[in-house]
């Protein structure tokens, strides 16, 4: 009876350790305390109950993993990322557990381990989590592509298989078993170094891609400004001539001629490559650059921007969100027959609102597919979430609409 109580307590301690571990890498959702307690109780009761009933290592693995998956519902993040994290964590538990049971006594696979080994395992796992938290405290919300996640998954999968093989086929135990368990534990701890390095590498790639695009946008914007300045200079220079022409037309009472002449002058002044002139350099740059590139390919483009001048100067998030969404919309509109794109952006009552509507070919519309700059849906959504914002998508038969909203905190 005492053994069961001791094992139960050790099993229960493992649950908050798992939550602590996930908290290093993922953002916690706003859930009530009762929901969290309920979840932990379900995990514990099912896991420990089935362990007591069957004492089966295979069932243990399944219930532990299922319980960890349940705990991930307390956190934000994509499913593949959560799967990788719980697998890596389980790899550590398996290594630590194996090490501890062989350290304490002669363990045979399928038998109940010494009750105190559970506490030792919890202690080892806790030390590992503390070290990971110290070393990788900036790992929260880091994402990277699925192919890297698959590579990382190999480590815990092989660890579990190795320990299982060790338990089933190696009856002697002893020093060799302790050494092998230590190696598995160490390997799984080091996998976090790999996780962090991959995440940082991917983040650097994204930033580099964004910077490159911003530089291109700035270059395009500078060119537009220079062109407009040149046109204005020419107009000023020729103004006397134009006034003479207009006076002559007025004397001849050629109202229609005057109107046409003035329209020609206006066309000369308006720069066709300037879709946006809100006074926010980065936003104007991104819009003019992306729409300028697509100008020849789109039939119907409408841009309506009403935001305070210079308000979003240097705002990396707004420019990245806008740039990513607009780039995807332009790409899909260009492929479609209608070639329609409408951009609306405004700020009212402390709220920033962005709407992008585009036509698309009736195939799979990847509004958030990875662009050549590599930013996907998760990164854009995360940026919107960081501003306490909301994104909604509406897919019609021919039109695709994206709505973004967030509070202006300045």
């Amino acid at each position: 009876m005492i053994d069961i109580v001791v094992e139960a307590i050790a099993g229960f301690i493992a649950i908050p350790l798992s939550i602590k571990f996930l908290d290093i890498f993922l953002e916690k959702k706003r859930k009530s305390i009762w929901y969290q307690i309920g979840l932990c109780m379900i995990y514990f009761v099912v896991n420990f109950g089935l362990y007591l009933q069957f004492h089966s290592p295979v069932i243990n693995v399944i219930t532990n993993l299922a319980g960890l998956i349940l705990l991930t519902t307390l956190f934000e993040g994509k499913i593949s990322q959560k799967l990788v994290l719980i697998s890596l964590k389980y790899g550590i538990v398996v290594g630590a557990d194996s090490l501890c049971v062989y350290l304490i006594g002669n363990y045979r696979f399928g038998n109940a381990p010494a009750p105190l080994s559970g506490y030792l395992t919890d202690l080892v796992v806790m030390i590992v989590i503390i070290i990971i938290e110290q070393k990788y405290n900036k790992a929260k919300n880091k994402v990277f592509p699925v192919k890297y996640e698959i590579i990382l998954l190999i480590i815990p999968v092989l660890s579990v298989l190795t320990i299982t093989y060790l338990g089933y086929f190696w009856e002697e135990g002893g020093r060799a078993a302790i050494l092998l368990s230590s190696a598995v534990l160490l390997l799984n701890c080091l996998s976090f170094y790999l996780y962090y390095a991959l995440a940082n590498l991917y983040a650097t790639e994204i930033e580099k891609g964004t910077m490159e695009r911003m530089i291109d946008a700035y270059k395009a914007q500078i060119q537009i400004v220079q062109e407009s300045r040149e046109n204005l200079k020419k107009l000023r220079h020729d103004l006397k001539h134009h006034l003479i022409e207009l006076s002559a037309m007025a004397r001849k009472e050629g109202a229609e001629d005057i109107d046409n002449y003035l329209k020609e002058m206006e066309k000369f002044l308006i720069n066709p490559r300037e879709f946006s002139a809100s006074g926010n350099q980065e936003i104007d740059g991104v819009v003019n650059y992306l729409l300028g590139k697509a100008a020849g390919n789109l039939k119907n483009v409408s841009v309506n921007i009403s935001i305070p001048e210079q308000y979003f100067q240097g705002d990396f998030y707004v420019c990245t969100i806008l740039g990513n969404l607009l780039e995807n919309a332009v790409r899909e509109a260009e492929k479609s027959e209608e070639k329609y794109l409408a951009l609306q952006m405004d700020m009212k009552r402390g709220v920033f609102y962005l709407k992008i509507e585009n036509s698309y070919r009736n195939e799979k519309h990847s509004s958030f597919g990875n662009t050549e700059h590599g930013i996907g849906l998760e990164s854009v959504k995360k940026m919107i979430q960081m501003k306490n914002g909301e994104i909604q998508i509406e897919k019609g038969r021919k039109r695709y609409k994206v709505f973004v909203f967030f509070y202006i905190t300045k």
């Binding site: 921007i305 009403s306 305070p308 009212k348 909301e390 709505f403 909203f405 509070y407 905190t409």
Partner: protein, 240 residues
Amino acid sequence: MRIVICDDEKSICTSLENIINRFMEENKIKCETDILFSGEELGRYMKENEDIDVLFLDIQLPDRSGVEIGAAIREKLENEKIMIIYISSHTQYALSLFRNRPFDFLVKPVRETEIRQVLERVLKVMGRQNDSFSYQNEKITYRIPYKNILYFRSEGRKIIIVTVSGIKSFYGKLNLIAKQVPENVFLRIHKSYLINFDFVAEYAYEEIKMVNGEHLTVSKVNRVEVRRKILSRRREADND
């Protein structure tokens, strides 16, 4: 309905007036349109006519800026009902303009399609505020138009109605009122507050500032839903 156009360029005023009159005729709406050419004229006009619904206002008037006039309407006259539509030859707007809570911005030369779209949205906004809220107090039934209600607040068993002309109260439950009033006019931000969208001065994640200067808390459990509803309402206003 009364629409005022205030711009020093006569051609703009005439063109706008023609488009507005055509639009109102097509929609069979009785509308009076007046033209003014300066801020001073507008000031004199507003002293005699309080019931302006829409004001097309040039940002660059010769005597006063559209910013000052907008600020005077909102702050000195405390008038939130007038829908101000700024007209400008520029596409760059100062932050101070946004503090006047304009309905929209139009860039000269203004196209007929743009004016029609704005007027359609104006009609939509006016339409939803036409109904009234009725309640009983000491066996007498009272009616308050939605367009005069800033928000409802619950204090124990009592409901406080904060209106443009003062505070009313009666015994009731906020949950029942929330079901009674239209969702696209009122928003539940807290178990104690039900606010009118059109009297919000500024939205923030944790609190909302009303036009009378009060800051009302958005409860944690409501924050995500409030955000969703603000966006949905905006989409509805854009016909989406």
